[in-house]
Amino acid sequence: MTDHHPNAPLELTRATSNGPLAEQVQAPEDLDRHDGNVAAPAVERGQASMITVSDLSFYYGAVQALTDVSMRIPPRNVTALIGPSGCGKSTFLRCINRMNDLIEESRVEGSIHIEGQDIYSPQTDVVELRKRVGMVFQKSNPFPKSIFDNVAYGPRVAGIRSRTALEEIVESSLFQAALWDEVKDRLDASALKLSGGQQQRLCIARALATGPEVLLMDEPASALDPASTARIEDLVSELKEHYTIVIVTHNMHQAARVSDQTAFFFEGRLFEMSETAELFTNPKQKKTEDYIGGRFG
């Protein structure tokens, strides 16, 4: 299940003069300002990034929801997206697994590269992409099926038929999602009978079962009680050993607790991005400071 997680820093796969390479070598100032900060080794100069977003703009019909967003997300690391409601966090997240394709009359400009591959190029298979880039939604949305069938769904649609293989995947996914012990005796029970927090962890397990490299989470804990929220947060911290995680949150404390770097969005633009500790203690922009301080949003 984890064999696709690279252990060593990735080699740059693209070497064009104006492509992501240029950006990777010349990382945004706020990313590598703190030389020697051990909290975020992955953002050091020259390190390959897992996800490279370049000048991304997104339009819902005539309405522009994102403007020229550029961002580098290092592998096996948690990136938090914060910002006031309606600033485009979810839109940005859905661009990364192309769920926005479903929206009529939407339009994307700019590019997103995942491990060097341009995900908006015509050669990209969206179905393959979504297997590599898992997503957990704000409101847990288990299928009205058994727990087992929920987790096995991704591998099944990918063509895995063998019962033992499926059982293995289901167990390891549920285990990674810290749900195995609670459900191992009732895998055939309906997923809708689980509690809200369990359902959300089931959705995480389901996303892990396709063997993704990236995990996108859109306010995964916003509908949960504090105890369940804490479990999800712990889970995020564990999962980042293997996965690159991008998480949207409205909770500043949560962002501070779980993320390595934080991106502050405002009115469709990436306003400021840096290591989490840095952004929260020493924001460069007044807007960021105001938002973090709870003065608006």
Partner: protein, 291 residues
């Protein structure tokens, strides 16, 4: 002064509301009374003629030897074939309209036509079926031609019912499936259709029960009143319950009126069973799925 008029206005409003309630109640009761009178009249006349022989005999010149067997089996054939034709077609059309078609002129055009077709009088479908299936395609006055005609008749209803069932499946399920790397078709096949199936079957059964009671279009495509043999295959001649009943009511002998009443009871019984099945499906599976 103004306080008084306010009170009066209040009272008048309450009176109006009360009278409207009574009006509705009266209308409902009138309907029920008429229905009850009809039913009791039919049962009074027909119940005595119901027997096992009535179900196992074919048509006969003699009232006491007449039975519904040929017509009943003919109806089963007709409805069965109609279901086989209209369910895949109707569900397919609904899936196209709901899951694939982009909003635009084409989809609007199809949607408007489907809705309008539901209101076309059934005899028009009969004439269409006569021209298209019986003559042009040379299927003849067989049960297959009747089923094709009936399928045309109920397709709009099946499509609309299936569309509503598909629309009731929340997008969160589609998104969950697509985000896991399922294709559009896999999502429909594994998630959307199973969730919509109870709704689709309920709507289809109700549409089929309408087809069960239709006589007019079948007369046009040549369902015969005097077939003593029931159909053994789709290319056989046939008759159906409503035509058999209609035929009996036209006979001069008084007893045939009672035979017709007995036939109506059988028809109503079948209808009731189908509607009960629809209710059962909705109850049984509708409860299971809570989003």
């Amino acid at each position: 002064m103004s306080e008084q008029s306010a009170v009066r206005r209040q009272r008048r409003k309450r009176l109006a509301a009360r009278s409207f309630e009574w009006l509705c109640l009266t209308a409902t009761f009138l309907c029920i009374i008429v229905l009850a009178a009809l039913l009791s009249g039919i049962i009074y006349r027909g119940a005595g003629w119901l027997s096992i022989e009535f179900l196992t005999n074919g048509p006969s010149r003699f009232p006491d030897q007449s039975g519904v067997k040929a017509a009943l089996i003919g109806s089963v054939w007709l409805i069965g074939l109609t279901a086989l034709i209209s369910v895949p077609l109707g569900t397919g059309a609904a899936i196209y309209l709901e899951e694939y078609a982009r909003p635009g002129i084409l989809r609007q055009f199809i949607q408007t036509n489907v809705s309008n077709l539901a209101g076309v009088p059934s005899i028009v479908y009969g004439i269409l079926g006569l021209g298209l299936f019986v003559r042009t395609l040379a299927i003849g006055d067989t049960v297959l031609a009747g089923a094709l005609t009936m399928s045309l008749l109920i397709l709009p209803v099946v499509i609309v019912a299936a569309q509503e069932a598909l629309r009731a499946v929340p997008d969160s399920i589609r998104h969950a499936s697509l985000a896991l790397g399922a294709t559009r078709w896999q999502t429909i096949q594994h998630q959307v259709l199973p969730a919509a199936l109870p709704g689709i079957s309920t709507g289809t059964i109700l549409a089929l029960s309408r087809a069960l009671g239709e006589a007019a279009p079948l007369i046009a495509v040549g369902a015969l009143a005097f077939v003593s043999r029931y159909p053994l295959g789709p290319m056989d001649k046939y008759t159906v319950l409503p035509i058999q009943i209609f035929n009996w009511t036209g006979k001069p002998q008084h007893d045939f009126q009672n035979v017709a009443a007995a036939g109506i009871i059988v028809l109503l019984g079948v209808l009731l069973c189908m509607n009960a099945l629809a209710v059962f499906i909705r109850y049984r599976y509708g409860k299971q799925i809570r989003w």
